[in-house]
Symmetry: C2
Subunit: 193 residues, 2 copies
């Protein structure tokens, strides 16, 4: 039996609002958008908007959740054995390559930094989990938290640069650059001698 079918009106309204918001982000940037803009574009009544979302940030995050789910499926499908940060980063560059406008809206300079901080947090949690086991036990070393924060924010930094500069680099190239820049420093810390 299929899960409780959801009213089509609800689906249409939510999708319409999400799409309208993403369009508007690419046009004028998240901060400049008003709820009025969104409901005009989506052709939705004012009271309807507030029946579904608290505010425009809530709407943005609902779109982000959808993307996250989709990325996780994408990631699961292709990764087999490699659990290093570089597998995750490559997948994310590739996923962004395939959904360029969506990623630009959420992670580009137009997107405000709300979604961006969520993406970084997501990476941070994933990486911290996978790095903690591998870290040497020696004291006097960098805390896992700084190390993880550094890797995650470096990735975000390259991703946004890539999205904002319409550069012609491929996802694979971007991941190579990411590794070239970040891996040497990280390896020196993980394997002290």
């Amino acid at each position: 039996m299929p899960q409780k079918a959801e009213d089509r009106r609800i689906q249409r309204t939510r999708k319409g609002l999400q799409d309208a918001l993403l369009e508007l982000i690419l046009e004028k940037g998240f901060d400049a958008i008003t709820v009025q803009d969104v409901i005009d574009r989506a052709n939705v009544g004012r009271s309807t908007f507030y029946a579904h979302f608290q505010d425009k940030e809530d709407l943005l995050l609902s779109g982000f959740e959808h993307l996250r789910t989709e990325f996780e499926r994408f990631f699961m499908e292709q990764t087999v054995t490699d659990e290093s940060p570089w597998a995750l980063s490559l997948s994310m560059f590739q996923h962004a390559e395939g959904h360029r406008d969506l990623y630009k809206a959420l992670a580009g300079k137009q997107g405000g930094n709300v979604a961006l901080m969520h993406i970084q947090k997501y990476l941070y949690v994933y990486l911290l989990e996978h790095l903690k086991e591998q870290l040497p036990k020696k004291k006097k070393n960098i805390s896992p938290e700084i190390l993880t924060h550094f890797i995650a924010s470096s990735f975000i930094s390259l991703l946004t640069w890539w999205l904002n500069n319409e550069s012609s680099y491929s996802a694979a190239q971007m991941n190579d650059y990411f590794r070239q820049l970040v891996e040497p420093g990280v390896n020196l810390i993980m394997q002290p001698e």
Copy 2:
């Protein structure tokens, strides 16, 4: 002859508004602040505020300009020969250490990212200037722009982490971590063989 003396009322008003804004940022974050909050705290008339600043962002940037000037004096005074990125970063960590609240307001998570983007841009311009000469001429390599962007954003990332986590690391320690993480990758690119 001293430069044309500026009306004390102007100085007091501007300083009062800047201080009020910085206090409020530490209390509730830049985004949640209204112009009304600022003029109430500073005890300044509404029309007076708009006689000096366009909006709260304009006010924030005026405070940032002041900080930048002060940092440049600080930097000039102590640096002698070293023109590598690591001299600049050490000075900035030290300057932040000496003006912790001010830096927290401008570069912490409460500060919105307006000032932060200005700081990063400032670093970017400085670094690009100093790195371009040293880059190897080989093709097939990372563009100076990505490399510079990476260094600048890595620094910003560690700085904000440091400010937001009330950590007990010293400025010198933070700069060591910064070098440990960033320098190996950068050196490999700058000296290919």
